[in-house]
């Protein structure tokens, strides 16, 4: 019997998932959580075999919760279920030690099967997302470029970015310009969007 923790902030989905997974003979939902913090508390209390975490949650999100879980409850294998995932989220998840990454487009049977796979020590990554992540490749941005692009992402003027990074405005412009060139973007705003989409921020 595989004992699982289900963390998902949308009651409707959480309840529905719990009901469906309960239909599987070898799976038992032993705990439910509606936020990242709650998920950690529940995991400590119930010591589940597998934690099924939604990516978008209040408090620590799915990936952050997975990272914390690996530290505090190492015998619990974390996996992520999500609606709108990009290659960036997948990368962060793998770096955090997540063993399964599944979009909500799979069926309940498939999800159950993936839970079994993960529980037996295997891995499962959604093929389409994996392809995206591979296609996106490694970030061509230097650390400084990525850092300044992140600061520019909300549309702040250069002067503010320069102040926050303790740099001359000219320097900031230079990095942002280089980043935009590498990304084939016309200006820093579209560059920031592209970089986010590819998980390079």
């Amino acid at each position: 019997m595989i004992r699982i923790l289900l963390a998902e902030d949308e009651h409707l989905i959480r309840g529905a998932l719990a009901a469906l997974l309960a239909l599987e003979d070898d799976i038992a939902v032993v705990a439910e959580a509606g936020s990242g913090d709650e998920a950690l508390a529940m995991a400590r209390a119930h010591r589940p075999d597998v934690a099924v975490l939604d990516l978008q949650m209040p408090g620590p999100d799915g990936v952050a919760a997975a990272a914390l879980l690996r530290e505090t409850v190492p015998e619990c294998t974390p996996m992520i279920v999500t609606s709108h995932a990009g290659a960036g989220a997948l990368k962060r998840a793998l770096a955090a030690g997540v063993r399964g990454f599944v979009p909500k487009t799979v069926s309940a049977q498939q999800l159950a099967e993936i839970i079994r796979t993960v529980h037996e020590g295997g891995r499962y990554i959604d093929p389409e997302l994996a392809a995206d992540a591979i296609a996106a490749g490694e970030s061509p941005l230097t650390s400084r470029e990525a850092e300044l692009l992140a600061l520019a992402a909300d549309g702040a003027p250069v002067a503010e970015i320069a102040a926050r990074a303790a740099l001359s405005p000219g320097t900031v412009r230079n990095y942002l310009s280089a980043a935009a060139a590498k990304l084939g973007a016309e200006n820093r705003h579209v560059a920031a969007r592209v970089a986010r989409e590819r998980g390079w921020l």
Copy 2:
């Protein structure tokens, strides 16, 4: 017996919802769809009493599907269920004749209750989203300002916007500047973001 159509592109959620709603004695899921187009076809074929539509779907989204439904299958009452909704989506939905607007944070029992309410001719709008929409108020932007701000939303340079709108670059700058001032934004990029958040585009 209330006959409903369930349109939701995520198999996992759709299957789970269908299972939960089937538990209610007075509700029958007579059709399921995974896209806006499919939802319309199913509605024409099965003539359900209520259409439960996810906001985010391939093809026509939930609101667009609801609008089309009201034309082609007038006896079917549309309602929207969604994860990440803003005031803008709510406004569009109400304009399209949607009778219920529910976030996925409600429980299955609540959803069933809301389906009954809507089926009896009532309305249900999530209180929090309604408050957001009221707080956002009416758009202070003129139609031209909104139009140009929408064109500027993806970070395009002014020259391109001017070409698309068949205006002088100076005029475009002027409108965008006025819009940014009304929205308290420092530049057109943040202005576009703010306007989107408040449903003014």
